[in-house]
Amino acid sequence: MLIRTILVAGAFAMAASSPAQAQNLDKAPPGGSYKKVSELVKLPDFLPGMGTLYVDPKTLPAGPFLAYDHDGRLASTIYMVPVEDIQGQKKLDNLKAAGGKVDHVDMYFNAGHPGVEKPHYHIVLWHIAEADEARVAK
């Protein structure tokens, strides 16, 4: 009886933890509510300097956008924050993170593109070393 209770409890515990573990974001496609950006708006599949992007449309414009290299490996997590939000001192709270080790961070201006038309900043959490950024360079 005790063994059976432990097994049932264990199964419940596994079921309860599975949603968080089910979504493996390390490889493309990330699944869940993430959609390929090039299927949401008219943009190239692979963006030089970033990679192939996925986003949960509900989180636009800030993201996170998950960026994958040509082999489908997660390269970075990108947030896109409109300049007017920065100037307006908008608070961005609890932005989701893809997980995984962050090696370094870049932040640079972007003039806009379909999906995030307003001029904005890309805040890039690189999960790979700087020397490996060539994997998404082109």
């Binding site: 008219k42 943009l43 190239p44 963006l47 030089p48 300097g49 970033m50 640079y108 201006f109 972007n110 003039a111 806009g112 593109h113 379909p114 038309e117 307003k118 001029p119 082109k138």
Partner: protein, 169 residues
């Protein structure tokens, strides 16, 4: 104004005139190329050239040479999301739709005058252009340009003098 998809139709019409022994309308020679460009990190986007002088009926071709972005060529006209009228009265508006890298869009403008246009996703970034067709008698359209479009546009006089005006990047 004739977009690429209507050029063939115009060609058929001209062929019909030839069959009737009537002269076809004159067509200006040469294609004027305008490139849609952006730098590597996407921080700057622009039409190259930003200002150009063309003859009435001459073909203008926009090509997206920016590998990391898509662009449009869209006339300043109320038909395009209520934008101000910045093309000659009586000229038809155009919108290329989004062009992915290496895609292009062609147009022929037959009404002399000044045409201002923009890139739909990059208007706020100042990606605008100006075409002068022929030697227009009228001045600039009265409608005011949206704020981001004002600084990059060359004057009509400069375009008439230089024929091609580029932005230094």
């Amino acid at each position: 104004m004739m977009a690429r998809r209507t050029v063939l139709r115009a060609g058929g019409w001209a062929a019909g005139l030839a069959l009737l022994g009537l002269p076809a309308p004159a067509k200006a020679e040469g294609v004027v190329e305008i490139r849609m460009r952006g730098n590597a990190d996407g921080s700057k986007v622009w039409f190259d050239p930003v200002g150009v002088l063309v003859e009435p009926g001459q073909t203008i071709r926009w090509t997206n040479v920016d590998p990391g972005n898509s662009h449009t060529s869209t006339a300043y006209h109320p038909a395009n999301d209520g934008r101000p009228l910045r093309i000659p009265e009586g000229a038809a508006p155009w919108h290329s739709d989004y062009l992915l890298p290496d895609q292009s869009f062609e147009l022929r403008l037959t009404v002399a005058g000044v045409y201002d246009y923009f890139c739909l996703p990059h208007e706020e970034a100042g990606m605008v252009g100006r075409i002068v067709v022929g030697h227009p008698q009228d001045g600039l359209p009265a409608a005011t340009l949206p704020e981001p479009a004002r600084p990059p546009l060359p004057s009509v006089e400069e375009i008439l003098r230089r024929k091609v005006v580029r932005i230094d990047q």
